[in-house]
Amino acid sequence: MTAGPARAAPPPSSPASPAAVRPLSLRGRGLSEAGPRVIGPALLLLAAVAALPLLPGIRFYYLQVVILVFWFAVLGTSWSIIGGYGGMHSIGHATFVGVGAYTSTLLYVDFHISPWLGMPAGMALAALVAVVIGYPCFRFGIRGDYFALVTVALGQVGFEAANGAANITKGAQGVPLPYAGNAPFAFQFANRSVYFYVVMALWLVVVAVAYRVRRSGFGFKLIALRDDEVAAERGGIDVSRHKLLALALSAAIAAAAGTFYAQFFLFIDPGAVFGLTLSVQIVLMAVLGGMNSYLGATVGAALLVPLSQWLTTRLSGVPGLDLVIYGAILVALMLYMPFGILGLLRRSPHWRRVIGW
């Protein structure tokens, strides 16, 4: 990816060729700039993680922790697209997870429609919910804290509706999915490590999407309107349209993760997929890792998920103590490291381009 002689001296016949008018330096060279000394070990790490289920005698508990890491990384990355790039701090992201989980599950349980089809249906519905709630918000200039509060209320509406509309959602008891044995078409696998590769693939796709978005014109417009909405509007960016697109994209990803959750645990209830705690956990993953980077949520999830799992099992004799520690860590982090872990790299121009800060 070095600037070759062709770029330095464009053919005179086409002075306005795309390569000539779009200098690479403006957008940075992204991941490729990290150099083989970083990319190599990163690929090795990825391969090692991918080989985890093949280890003989590995306890499924550990695989489940890694699956949850990927799952939270997907959600956190989807949040980064709106919260980090777009500056819209949603604290109701669980709504979209819940919509995705409930749509595919109810379609499967009540109408025997494969969750593979239910997943895009849930994604579409979540994107629709995002547009319905986002359009008036952005149209009438609800932003900042007020947008955050609207999303909190949205999350509560989702939670209470899933709880209250018991004739559709079975209310607070939740919906168990019938176990179908090895049924790949029904998104169920007897070999549980298949779930591992499904969620890993989902994570790869989502991180790639976030990476592409960050480097696209769309991403730059989002960052422009995050940093100064008025100036962005003056600069000719359709602010509410771009915010809406980002929110819909983010909601659709969260809904896909919701379907995975339902298929993996074969049980959903409003508290698990619509709860305020999940909404905040999603924000936490992204903020801890560094919400402006497409990799931030992955770093955050890789640290927090094992920590919280360990705390939960370790302190199971004293209910609540794990959450006390979790909350205290959260407070300390926000006091001393508000930009997250990858945020520590943001002062170096080289690393900034690599992590897409």
């Binding site: 918000c137 007020y146 209320a153 924000v283 103590l321 407070v331």
Partner: protein
């Protein structure tokens, strides 16, 4: 006779909302921070009432000054030790700090006193008063009266004293207030202390009515935001009116349509109202944020 009673108990519920929201109005309106710990602080205050009553055998209403004082101190410490250090920094870190604090406080209650429901009893609280077919318990009547008194006092404090004027000045324009010689940091801490003290008052008034458990304050904390925003930021009476309105709406919907969906209904009303009239039902100024 279902409807009048639903309205009456809605007013009692609204009175509690009004108190929690009054505290939040100060914090959100002055310090400009979304305090997710509001509900958890209410839980802590409720346990405080329970502890004081158990230790001293006092009537729950007599614990009010002690609980309010302890809560004021706690609020001051939170502002000075935590919130004050992240003001003017990242928005998300402020949000997450209060959420982390809420997790710590709420689960500390769980660790210390377990998940069981605790109750605070008074000898006369459960007696029922009937008036024109409307039936209310003594505790509900006390809650309404106490809430009205407190809101009136808060109004007088904010509008008739120097400290209150300083708080309002900082709420409107922190920079100009600082230029006028007001110690903004101290006002922030004072607003936080008064705000949490009001939570303490709310706790003593509601303790005889509601069971006490680690999640007891959660719904009140979120509802308080809705009340403050609907009532218009910074308006004491606006928030109180909005609180009554929401309490009555919620109870009437629960009685006539569905108990389970009543909370969802209130949140939906909030979203619609917020979008249709961003400055609140009773607020005048356009919102800039």
């Amino acid at each position: 006779m279902q409807l009048p009673s639903a309205v009456a108990s809605g007013i009692a519920l609204g009175a509690i909302y009004a108190l929690v929201a009054a505290g939040l109005n100060l914090v959100f309106g002055v310090v400009k921070i979304i305090n997710f710990a509001q509900g958890a602080l209410l839980t802590v205050a409720l346990y405080g009432v329970w502890l004081f009553q158990r230790a001293a055998g006092l009537d729950p209403y007599l614990t009010l000054p002690a609980v309010a004082a302890v809560m004021a101190g706690l609020g001051y410490l939170i502002q000075a030790g935590l919130i004050g250090r992240v003001l003017g920094k990242e928005r998300t870190s402020q949000l997450l700090i209060t959420f982390g604090l809420a997790m710590v406080l709420k689960n500390l209650c769980l660790v210390l006193w377990g998940a069981d429901n605790r109750s605070v009893t008074s000898r006369y609280g459960d007696r029922v008063l009937g008036f024109l077919g409307v039936r209310m318990t003594v505790a509900s009547v006390v809650a309404v009266a106490g809430s009205a008194l407190t809101v009136a006092f808060l109004y007088l404090f904010l509008h008739r004293t120097r400290a209150g004027t300083a708080i309002r000045a900082v709420a409107q324009q922190p920079d100009s207030a600082e230029l006028a010689g007001i110690n903004v940091r101290r006002v922030y801490a004072a607003a936080f202390a008064v705000g949490t003290a009001l939570i303490g008052v709310a706790a003593s008034l509601m303790a005889p009515i509601y069971p006490i458990h680690p999640g007891a304050g959660d719904s009140f904390g979120i509802m308080a935001f809705i009340v403050v925003i609907l009532g218009g930021l910074g308006s004491v009476f606006g928030a109180a009116l909005a609180a009554l309105l929401i309490g009555v709406l919620q109870n009437v919907f629960a009685t006539l349509v569905s108990v389970q969906l009543s909370t969802a209904f209130v949140f939906l009303v909030f979203i619609v109202a917020m979008i249709a009239r961003p400055s609140g039902i009773f607020g005048q100024k356009a919102r800039v944020a």
